[in-house]
């Protein structure tokens, strides 16, 4: 058997095998004998049908099987001998009998790209941070007071501190549409998401009043539909004072003070910003790393990532189905660059894991279980058992370890978000520069995917 490896592109390979008649016949005889064992024909016991009869009856089908088997075995032999790092499943691209009774096979496959791991220590990236202001804490405190407001019956909705309970009836040609009534809807006039026109009309209303209002509906709210709104109840919202009593109630602690509550709110806001900016920081580190490595990504890997994107989309649906009218081709074409970068990052990550000797220890499972148990409020032992049963946990732990490592190694430039926003605004302001220059800058930022942060 002769074999020749052809390199079609960076990671794509093709291999040709030429089998002689004798070599091919050996495969065919083997296939024939296997078929004989299973052949059943009236007049013969199972496995006793003569070979020539089996050949006569099922010859063409068996020949196809034998050719496939010969192709697979040839490739298996080559793979065992040379041991190329194959990605995905090799595919037979050409398979035919030769004029001299032999067999010609061509198999295409992809290999893991060989690349040298570049610099992953000291990557430069901006680490954004946020300083929580007293104003933000006040706003959050007000929201909290609104949520805990008590309702007192009122004659009329004199101002926006009132909550109006209404029935909303849809109208068509001035007549109510049967079955299109929403009952006991509570509207807090102060809420910013209340339709301004509805708010205006509800001001000053009393129990039993009915108003007509056109409310936007449909996609983008471009169509107005008439409704009749009947007031059933009017209450005044009495907000609790921002004092120690409120703190005790919210923190469920009889010794809590308003200062402690404010501190708690500050921490909570800071945590929100920190996790958001941490994601951005990590993304920018990964983007910098991906951009600094230039190698071909196997199509198989990109497609595997694309498949996982589609699967993820399915999982996010309530019925675990793809959205109606989902165009897979369009989705794949749009997501292809992202999938390719993800696949590239996975390959780089593998090298980092190897270079750093990152492994998963029992303690890592325990730490993760402790974190998740606290987050979900489930018993630690159950979470630990569950995490250990998942195939993805190990990968998750390793991925997290790599990210922590890269964060530690990174040369982070600390910048406050407000300063960054000012810088961005200054850049965006035309300062005597021509439009072309700005356009180029924008294009560069887009191509970096994450290295420039837009607030």
């Amino acid at each position: 058997m002769e074999s020749t490896v052809l390199e079609s592109s960076g990671v794509r390979r093709e291999i040709e095998f030429s089998l002689t008649k004798v070599e091919y016949d050996a495969h065919f005889s083997k296939t024939l004998r296997e078929a004989q064992k299973e052949a059943q024909l009236k007049g013969f016991r199972k496995g006793m049908v003569p070979l020539n009869l089996v050949k006569q009856l099922y010859g063409k089908q068996l020949e196809a099987e034998a050719m496939e088997e010969a192709a697979q075995e040839s490739f298996r032999g080559y793979a065992e001998q040379v041991q190329p790092r194959i990605v995905g499943i090799p595919a037979v691209t050409e398979l035919r009998r030769t004029d001299d009774g032999g067999l010609y096979v061509k198999i295409g496959y992809e290999i893991y790209p060989e690349f040298e791991l570049g610099q992953y220590k000291g990557l430069q990236a901006q680490r954004i941070f946020h300083t929580v202001t007293g104003e933000e804490v006040d706003t959050e405190l007000d929201n909290l007071r609104e949520r805990l407001a008590t309702l007192e019956p009122a004659e009329s909705a004199d101002d926006d501190d009132h909550v109006v309970t209404v029935d909303i009836q849809k109208l068509a040609d001035g007549l109510p549409v049967i079955g299109e009534t929403s009952r006991d809807i509570r509207i807090f006039l102060k809420h910013e998401n209340v339709n301004p026109e509805l708010r205006r009309l509800l001001r000053g209303t009393r129990v039993g009043d009915a108003i007509r209002v056109d409310l936007p509906t449909g996609d983008g709210g471009q169509t107005n539909i008439p409704y009749e709104v009947t007031v059933k109840e009017v209450n005044r919202a009495v907000l609790p004072d921002a004092d120690n009593t409120l703190a005790m109630k919210v923190l469920d602690d009889t010794t809590a003070t308003i200062d402690q509550l404010r501190e708690q709110i500050t921490l909570s806001i800071k945590h929100e910003y920190d996790s958001q900016y941490s994601r951005i920081f990590r993304d920018s580190v990964v983007a910098a790393l991906v951009n600094s490595h230039d190698f071909d990504v196997p199509h198989t890997m990109t497609h595997m990532v694309l498949d996982s994107f589609v699967e993820d989309l399915k999982q996010r649906d309530k019925k675990k189905e793809l959205p109606a009218g989902f165009d897979r081709k369009k989705f794949e074409s749009e997501m292809h660059p992202t999938a390719e970068r993800t696949a590239k990052w996975m390959l780089i990550r593998e090298q980092i894991i190897e270079a750093e000797g990152i492994t998963v220890e029992e303690a890592d499972y325990e730490d993760l279980a402790e974190f998740e148990a606290k987050r979900m409020g489930i018993q630690y032992d159950i979470v630990l058992r569950y995490l250990k049963s998942l195939d993805t946990t190990q990968e998750r732990i390793v991925a997290e370890k790599v990210m922590v490592l890269l964060e530690d190694y990174a040369d982070a430039q600390e910048i406050e978000d407000i300063v960054l926003k000012q810088q961005e605004e200054a850049k965006a302001t035309p300062n005597g520069e021509d439009g072309v220059g700005q356009q180029q800058e924008g294009a560069e930022a887009d191509s970096d995917e994450g290295s420039t942060i837009k607030l």
């Binding site: 003569p50 006569q56 009856l57």
Partner: protein, 100 residues
């Protein structure tokens, strides 16, 4: 026109006989040994040395239908074991239709 040779019979037993240059056919019930010999010789271009025949009697068959039980019989059949001159063979398998 009456067809003397109906089909070759392929069973484990007939396959074993073919190793001894003997081939089994199902033949017309009214065909005699001379007609069978001539039919085999003309169809396969071989020399027949002997013909032995077996007449298979009809077997009773009962079938249950919605109208009740129907009693019947299978057809009379005749089998012929044909011996060929030493060294001659018939490719009975090649004569069979393939399963496509």
């Amino acid at each position: 026109m009456r067809q003397v040779l109906k089909r070759p019979i392929l069973t484990e037993k007939s396959t074993a006989l073919s190793n001894k240059a003997q081939y089994v056919f199902e033949v017309d019930v009214n065909a005699n040994k001379i007609e069978i010999r001539k039919a085999v010789e003309s169809r396969y271009r071989v020399d027949v040395t002997s013909v032995r025949t077996i007449t298979v009697r009809p077997q009773a068959r009962v079938q249950m239908t919605r109208r009740g039980w129907i009693q019947g019989k299978t057809k009379w059949r005749k089998k012929a074991i044909v011996s060929l001159k030493q060294g001659q063979t018939i490719d009975i398998v090649g004569d069979l239709p393939t399963e496509e």
